[in-house]
């Protein structure tokens, strides 16, 4: 069952044109506006229970899309259906069925304890007190926050705060959770813990997850499907397996030879670096076989060899770049 359906969604922001230098006086008389297309005619859908990553560089339009899906921003054009509801027109109704965690925007009252905050959010979502206390205790157990649940939020570390933010967004049992860069600013340990928890929410509780992040590690661990967005357009919509299969087919081979032997570039083999008898090669495994690669030199000449896969981060960067190049063309 599709829980999110987006058709031809666009969002324009009107910006005032800035006049510089001698044209400064034009500010007084002209009110020219520039239209910035933050999201440009995108369409996609999300199945129930799916974990989808929405990634892209700064200003790509990923947060704007999430904000439109949650009813925070009004789209300029296009259609959105989240759990069968129109977020623009039925925001209050939708808010009872979704949860949001914004890594850069805290929703908790910082002077109050985490517990006071949970009681507050429980009242906002009209959860009966008994049921609410039970839910808090369950979530406190899962998120391991019992130790600091009665401490003021302002005294918690960023990782602890994020855990509390997540508990607050889960109190009303949402069907979909929207995460907008939840791991931003966290140390590697806190990041890992949070990723595990998000994964658990998706796998064990069956909550649909829509996730934006700059951190490729988040996506690799948490999500099965990825949408790459750049300049407001979808560059790629694929599952993680396919992404790895199609885009991670390039291997980086570093060889250190005993003698100074010249290696020449071939179709599928690109020399990235060459220094004396050391070579760094990029090998496209769709074109070249390992046998062909090893045929470039004799086994006796080989002192050392290491083979690694292109990091996912680089793959994503190349997809961003591809989008940019297409635009300039």
């Amino acid at each position: 069952m599709k829980v999110i359906e987006v058709k031809n969604l666009s969002k324009d922001f009107k910006l005032k044109k800035k006049y510089k230098g001698k044209e400064f006086w034009k500010h007084l008389f002209k009110k020219e506006k520039i239209i910035k297309k933050a999201v440009n005619n995108i369409s996609f859908s999300v199945e129930e229970g799916e974990a989808l990553a929405f990634i892209g560089p700064n200003g790509a339009g990923k947060s704007t899309t999430i904000k439109m899906l949650t009813g925070i921003l009004y789209p300029t054009s296009g259609e959105i259906s989240v759990l069968g509801l129109n977020p623009t027109k039925e925001r209050a109704k939708l808010s009872r069925q979704i949860g949001t965690v914004f890594g850069q925007k805290e929703q908790l009252w910082v002077h109050l304890t985490a517990m006071d905050n949970f009681l507050f959010f429980g009242a906002i979502y009209d959860i009966p007190k008994k049921e609410l206390l039970k839910r808090i205790s369950e979530l406190a157990e899962i998120f391991e926050i019992n130790e600091f649940i009665n401490q003021p939020v302002k005294s918690l570390s960023l990782g602890q705060r994020m855990k509390c933010e997540m508990v607050a967004s889960l109190l009303h049992n949402p069907k979909i959770l929207f995460f907008d860069e939840p791991t931003i600013g966290l140390d590697p340990v806190a990041k890992e813990t949070l990723r595990m928890l998000i994964k658990k929410l998706n796998k064990e509780l069956g909550i649909t997850i829509l996730f934006t992040s700059h951190d490729v590690g988040d996506i690799e661990e948490v999500c099965k499907r990825v949408i790459i967005i750049n300049d407001g357009k979808i560059m790629l919509d694929d599952n993680m397996k396919n992404l790895k299969y199609h885009y991670l087919n390039k291997k980086i081979v570093e060889v250190n030879l005993i003698r100074d032997i010249s290696i020449k570039e071939k179709e599928g083999i690109k020399i990235l670096k060459a220094k004396n008898s050391m070579y760094k090669l990029e090998v496209d495994m769709n074109i070249t076989t390992m046998e062909q690669l090893l045929g470039l030199f004799k086994a006796d000449d080989l002192q050392d060899i290491s083979i690694s896969t292109t990091p996912l981060e680089d793959v994503i960067k190349s997809i961003y770049r591809r989008g940019k190049n297409e635009k300039t063309e």
Binding site: K67, G71, I72, T100, F120, I124
Partner: protein
């Protein structure tokens, strides 16, 4: 009932959070004391050496100082200087967008949030105001305990009306870069036409304009009620306050509903 519970919870939470800034209140009380001290000196000079027997525009010195103390107290408790700036900043920064995706009416949320802060401020400032008044000019003339409740009701209405006006001004930020200059204009008008002087101090042609304006409901009315109480005056003020509350709540809601479509929130 469930709905009311939700808004009561917002009120309770905001009140709890406000308690944490009690130290700030002591500094504000010092500021309040200094302002009143200056006005006491000023009005004592105006009333002259026989100040206690002198009546200017139906006000004795004692009544004048009590008027000032309570009008200033309303100004302090209503957090007047912050409302427009806060709302304007919320809109400009896009913070507003994060608050509107919850199952409550944002406008009512903000009213509960603000009223909690103001009620906390009133609980703090009313005793401070009474103490300062006693120190400078003694007790309120002809004051009886029966007057306390009507005066408090009127003061609560005044801070509510004050908030809605300033919040509505703040919402101009949906359309302009910054709403604070508009807030300054309103503040100056309020100060000149209500905060510093009772209605009787103005020219006859101006008095009905002030009387039918929200300035009377916010400052002149409740402060006069404290300084020179009568049940007739209470009835006229409360009618004016209820009428203004209804009018500006509707107006504020209209501005909010028009403006919320213009919410711009930065992406990541």
């Amino acid at each position: 009932m469930k709905r009311l519970n939700k808004y009561f919870s917002i009120y309770k939470t905001s009140f709890k959070q406000e308690k944490d800034s009690i130290v700030n209140y002591f500094f504000r009380a010092i500021n309040f004391f200094i302002i009143i001290f200056i006005f006491v000196q000023l009005w004592s000079y105006i009333y002259g050496e026989n100040g206690t027997n002198q009546i200017i525009n139906n006000y004795s010195l004692q009544q004048m100082i009590w008027y000032l103390i309570f009008s200033e107290m309303i100004y302090f408790s209503a957090r007047t200087s912050l409302i427009t700036k806060d709302i304007s900043n919320e809109i400009k920064s896009g913070n507003l967008s994060y608050k509107i995706n919850k199952p409550y009416n944002f406008y009512l949320y903000e009213i509960c949030n603000f009223m909690a802060k103001s009620c906390f401020a009133l609980i703090f400032f009313i005793p401070v105001a009474i103490l300062i008044g006693f120190i400078f000019v003694g007790s309120i003339p002809n004051f009886t305990w029966l007057q306390i409740l009507p005066c408090i009701i009127s003061i609560l209405f005044s801070v509510l009306i004050n908030w809605i006006i300033y919040a509505s001004v703040g919402m101009i930020s949906f359309w302009t870069q910054d709403a604070t200059p508009f807030g300054w204009i309103v503040t100056k008008l309020f100060m000149l036409l209500g905060l510093f002087f009772p209605l009787d101090f103005f020219p006859t042609w101006l008095q009905p304009i002030i009387f039918y304006s929200p300035i009377y409901s916010i400052f002149s009315g409740p402060a006069t009620l404290v300084a020179d109480f009568s049940w007739d005056l209470f009835a006229s003020i409360i009618i004016s306050q209820i009428s203004w509350s209804v009018i500006i709540i509707i107006l504020g809601l209209m501005i909010y509903n028009l403006g919320k479509k213009k919410v711009v929130s930065n992406g990541g």
